[in-house]
């Protein structure tokens, strides 16, 4: 077997971030040990072939130096585009810094696993560090916008978002742009302090042969709330890994998602919630809609640690296949080591309700419009959880035929 992973790492260059020695070593060893990209024999990549990724020729897009300043916005924006990056000024209670300036000690809290995170550790070319001071509520949404466009490019970024105790913030993670051929690997670490509340709306809409790997790692303290909605549309290849370490007591996690695959697109959502402390709750709700020959994956893993009693973990994944050539692979995984817990999960994959479609058409509504209405209704719970107006509009545009 060729050492295509090693070669791939080389073309991405060396990271501009000051990662701690330990992590770099771990990542280097990880890549060396694995040598080549995982295959579908590797459980986490069972439905997602990486051969095309291994064959990509892309040059790293670096975001060094200070960002250009953005002014007069109702939102606090950080924009990563090919060529340069921009950033709004800090506001009371919110500090922004380039990830290049984050000290090795501040990255220390994280551990990495898997080739995606290892590549990120070794080759990240920038990112944003955001800190919300204890007790502050940031009124404007903070948007991190990624636009990868042009002939080719690799956007490898590592963000760190620290929300201190009792702070509240709403964040939008936006992935757009049209590239002929692109690779992105964006890792975002969220540190959610005690009683802090974080709401994240994530919108993925990249055009072209864009291979996107998105990892969010969330470390939650006592009585904190973390909510994230991941909406994926129009993307050639997307792999999302959301991993939550619910390490403080009575923390609440909500992970919602909706994905829309057409053509030969592939959308793979992996979630992993670690319930490490008692009285925690988690609520997962993912909806998939697949047309044509699109492929969807939902793999939701929940692990309840031995001392994590009184956990309430709920997981639901429902999918609609709008063509007989579309396929969906759904897999819940529960690992429970505590005895007093409530865990439930359910997954269904079906077709559009033919009776409902006929009913709508019989009132004069076109088949396309009726389908759109039923798809909208199917995803309503997820859409309602999205607070970002920008994303709401983008979803409506995407679903309107």
């Amino acid at each position: 077997m060729s050492e295509n992973l090693v070669a791939f790492e080389h073309q991405l260059g060396t990271t501009s971030l000051s990662m701690p020695e330990l992590l770099t070593k771990e990542a280097k060893e990880g890549i060396a040990r694995q040598a080549s990209f995982p295959t579908t024999r590797d459980e986490p990549w069972k439905y997602t072939r990486l051969a095309r990724v291994a064959g990509l020729t892309v040059a790293p897009i670096a975001f060094k130096g200070a960002p250009a300043l953005l002014k007069g916005m109702e939102t606090i924006d950080v924009i990563f585009e090919k060529g340069t990056w921009w950033c709004s000024a800090a506001v009371e209670g919110l500090t922004l810094q380039s990830a290049n300036e984050i000290s090795p000690e501040s990255w220390q809290a994280c551990t990495t696993k898997g080739h995606v995170q290892h590549l990120n550790t070794l080759t990240a070319q920038g990112g944003i560090g955001i800190t919300i001071a204890a007790g502050t509520t940031i009124q404007q949404p903070v948007r991190i916008i990624h636009r990868c466009s042009g002939a080719q490019g690799a956007m490898v970024l590592h963000h760190q978002i620290k929300v201190e105790d009792r702070a509240h913030v709403r964040i939008e993670l936006i992935f757009e742009g049209e590239a002929e051929q692109a690779y992105s690997n964006v890792l975002t670490d969220f540190f959610v302090g005690k009683e802090a509340q974080v709401h994240v709306d994530k919108w993925q809409n990249t055009q072209g042969a864009h291979y996107g790997f998105y990892n969010e790692r969330i470390y939650q303290e006592r009585q904190s709330t973390f909510r994230m909605q991941t909406i994926t549309a129009n993307t050639h290849f997307t792999r999302n890994d959301v991993e939550v370490f619910s390490q403080g007591e009575a923390a609440h996690t909500q992970l919602y998602g909706a994905f829309f695959g057409r053509g030969q697109q592939l959308i793979d959502n992996h979630t992993y919630v670690h319930h490490m402390a008692p009285h925690g709750t988690s609520d997962e709700n993912y909806k998939g809609v697949l047309w044509d020959k699109a492929t969807g994956v939902f793999n939701g893993k929940v692990k309840v640690y031995q001392d994590a009693q009184k956990i309430n973990a709920y997981q639901s994944n429902k999918n609609l296949l709008l063509s007989s050539a579309a396929s969906m692979n759904a897999k819940p995984e529960l690992e429970i080591y505590a005895d007093d817990v409530k865990c439930s999960h359910g997954s269904t994959t079906g077709q559009l309700d033919a009776q409902a479609l006929f009913y709508l058409q019989a009132r004069g509504i076109s088949k396309a419009k009726a389908t759109e209405m039923l798809v909208g209704a199917f995803c309503a719970e997820v859409f309602e959880a999205v607070h970002s107006e920008y994303i709401q509009t983008a979803i409506a545009e995407h679903l309107t035929l």
Partner: protein, 246 residues
């Protein structure tokens, strides 16, 4: 307005309609009666354009157009309305949104401008009052959690909103209490003009006391085997269907 000639229709290879003929003129009310499984709902579904049925032979001309050539939505836009025997619940789609979309698609087809929100709402008010449909139901999801009677009223409410040329009421009376029956029938009568026609499918003569038919047909084993005036319904009520079969 509607001319059905020697219609044969089957589902899953089983022939259900076996040479059905029916002519309906503007301003007329036709009642169709017949035993369970005779093919009454099949006829209604075929008129509305349900794709599960295969039309093996025969023709349907509706206001000069070949109905069988039209899609489900085109038929509705041309003025065919089916009040379903079993209205479908559609969670997540609000009744109001659904109707607004339907009305505007139909209006566009007829070359009329879209209704303003205000015009639409006042129509909703007026027409829901006609069938005494609780206004709060309009804002709920389509038929979701509606009682049997509420679903039927909702069908007639939609009919009132869409003003079809040909309304096919498939057992709209079943599941209605006596008051509701009268209200729904009054609604239908109010909507009646000399330009539109109604096809009433029912098992009970009682409905025909309120919606007085010009013709009563007996549909039996996929064909119309007897046609008469409104007195035929009374006769059927008394004697059942056996005397017709033989």
């Amino acid at each position: 307005m509607l001319e059905i000639k020697a219609l044969h229709a089957s589902i899953n290879g089983i022939e259900i309609l076996k040479g059905l003929n029916l002519t309906v003129k503007p301003g007329e009310v036709h009642a169709i009666m017949g035993p369970n499984g005779a093919g009454k709902s099949t006829l209604a579904s075929v008129l509305a354009g349900k794709e599960d049925y295969e039309i093996t032979s025969g023709e349907i001309v509706f206001v000069g157009k070949d109905l069988l050539e039209l899609s489900v939505e085109e038929r509705a836009r041309e003025g065919v309305f089916l009040a379903f025997q079993y209205p479908v619940e559609i969670p997540g789609v609000s009744n109001v949104n659904f109707l607004k979309t339907a009305m505007n698609e139909i209006r566009e087809h007829r070359g009329l401008p879209a209704l303003s929100a205000k015009e639409f709402l006042s129509l909703v008010k007026e027409k829901s009052a006609l069938v005494e449909l609780d206004a709060s139901l309009a804002s709920r999801a389509v038929n979701e959690g509606f009682s049997g009677g509420e679903k039927k009223r909702n069908e007639i409410f939609q009919m009132a909103m869409l003003e079809p040329k040909l309304a096919v009421l498939d057992e709209t009376d079943s599941g209605l209490d006596i008051d509701a029956l009268r209200i729904v029938a009054q609604g239908v009568n109010t909507l009646k003009t000399s330009d539109n026609a109604t096809l009433v499918i029912t098992h009970y003569q009682r409905l025909l006391d309120y919606i007085v038919p010009d013709y009563v047909h007996v549909l039996f084993d996929g064909k119309i085997v007897k046609t008469g005036g409104k007195e035929l319904a009374l006769e059927l009520e008394e004697k059942g269907y056996d005397w017709i079969k033989s």
